[in-house]
């Protein structure tokens, strides 16, 4: 799969540092599952975290501390999970036939067609993921050719296209692509004409829809 829109260093660094809210983490982990480029950069940031840890200094361990630690583990068995096999076939990394990235499956199950969608008006449907924290992650189903109501963001919005595609004034986004919109972005994505668009979106502040009708939509979206 050729992806053209990737996760920024800033967001990837937050993810590696463990500072990203869970809702955004689902989007990031899902994209990385599909994207070798972002996976490689993530691995680099993890290694950077390791290097920072290695450079730390602290008071040497006392015998008491070591003794306490050894008592703690004395009767703990080894975890039963098997070691990672070193040779296996390649991972299926395709968003085909309604297949979803593994990190997303942990929240919504294996298949799109069994998802308990809720209609939010204009043919648009959503499913809010059960994540903790104040940021929200939701799946959106946008019928072909349909416009998502004009909205700006109080904060960051991170979107991963799962199926179909959409475009806004500047760009177009296909399966696996990441769309990052900041607080200052005011955009009106439109799903492509040929098929419905399904995406995963995380926001850290309520969406602000413009105009009366969209505000009704917003109350339905319950953001």
């Amino acid at each position: 799969m050729t992806l053209t829109h990737h996760i920024s260093d800033e967001i990837l660094l937050s993810y590696a540092a463990g500072a990203l809210p869970e809702a955004f983490g689902v989007v990031v982990a899902s994209h990385i599952s599909l994207c070798d480029d972002c996976r490689a950069r993530m691995t680099g940031f993890d290694a950077l975290g390791g290097a920072i840890l290695e450079r730390e200094t602290g008071q040497p361990v006392t015998d008491t501390q070591l003794g306490e630690m050894l008592t703690l583990i004395a009767h703990l068995p080894q975890d039963s999970a098997a070691a990672r096999p070193s040779t296996r076939s390649a991972t299926p990394k395709k968003l085909s036939q309604g297949q979803l990235p593994a990190p997303l499956c942990d929240y919504v199950g294996e298949r799109l067609d069994s998802l308990p969608w809720r209609a939010v008006g204009g043919g648009v449907r959503q499913y809010v993921l059960p994540t903790k924290g104040t940021a929200r992650a939701r799946m959106l189903y946008i019928p072909a050719g349909t416009k998502i109501p004009d909205h700006g963001h109080g904060g960051m919005e991170l979107t991963l296209v799962l199926q179909g595609s959409y475009h806004d004034a500047d760009d177009s986004f296909g399966p696996g692509d990441i769309d990052i919109a900041g607080a200052d972005t005011q955009h009106t994505p439109v799903a492509a004409e040929n098929m419905p668009c399904i995406c995963l979106t995380a926001t850290d502040a309520p969406l602000r829809f413009r105009g009366l009708l969209p505000r009704v939509v917003q109350s339905f979206l319950r953001i």
């Binding site: 463990g18 990385i32 290695e54 602290g58």
Partner: protein, 187 residues
């Protein structure tokens, strides 16, 4: 600040192997002596009290004891592996959230033997540590801050008094330098 990467540089892959296979207490003690002070310091710099930091350190070392067989020296350095465990424990404890993880990449047929791959990983790790040490201090400090936890760039801005734009561009510069430095020794 840190020790030079080569001054004490045990073969952590073998050490971890002895923990996994033989439940070797001496090997575990060596890992604990090396990493516990670093972890506690790292966690305290992330905002934990000493008591909290020591508790999380014990947590992490317990996980290490139980999951030693999952450590793969071809894929990550031990410090990176421990960093990742500590990060996830912290998210779990402080925020009560879970951390979505990417799907594992399954490895294809090996290109080189395990030992060679582990050696390459070790060299890369030493090199990254050196590159980090050689960063201008202002840049390194900001990269460290970014890794010390739940701090957004705006939080760092408040704390350091630096404008947000300066922080972002310094972090960007630091990453560019690290990448440049790492590409200089590409085999």
């Amino acid at each position: 600040m840190g020790k030079a990467p080569d001054s004490d540089d045990p073969d952590w892959g073998s050490v971890m192997h002895r923990i996994a296979e033989a439940r070797d207490i001496d090997s575990f003690s060596a890992v604990f002596r090396h990493f516990a002070p670093r972890l506690t310091s790292f966690l305290m710099r992330s905002g934990a009290t000493r008591a909290e930091a020591e508790e999380v350190t014990q947590d992490v070392m317990t996980v290490l004891w139980q999951k030693a067989h999952l450590f793969d020296p071809r894929r990550a350095s031990l410090s990176t592996w421990i960093f990742a465990i500590a990060r996830n424990r912290r998210i779990d404890r402080l925020r009560k959230e879970r951390r979505p993880e990417p799907q594992e990449v399954l490895w294809g047929p090996e290109q080189a033997d395990d030992h060679t791959e582990a050696m390459i990983m070790k060299q890369d790790t030493a090199h990254l540590t050196r590159a980090l040490t050689e960063l201008p201090e202002k840049q390194r400090k900001l990269i460290e801050r970014a890794f010390f936890g739940d701090l957004s760039h705006s939080d760092i801005a408040r704390e350091t008094g630096l404008p947000l734009g300066t922080i972002k561009s310094r972090i960007r510069l630091a990453l560019e330098r690290l990448r440049h430095s790492m590409s200089q020794t590409t085999r």
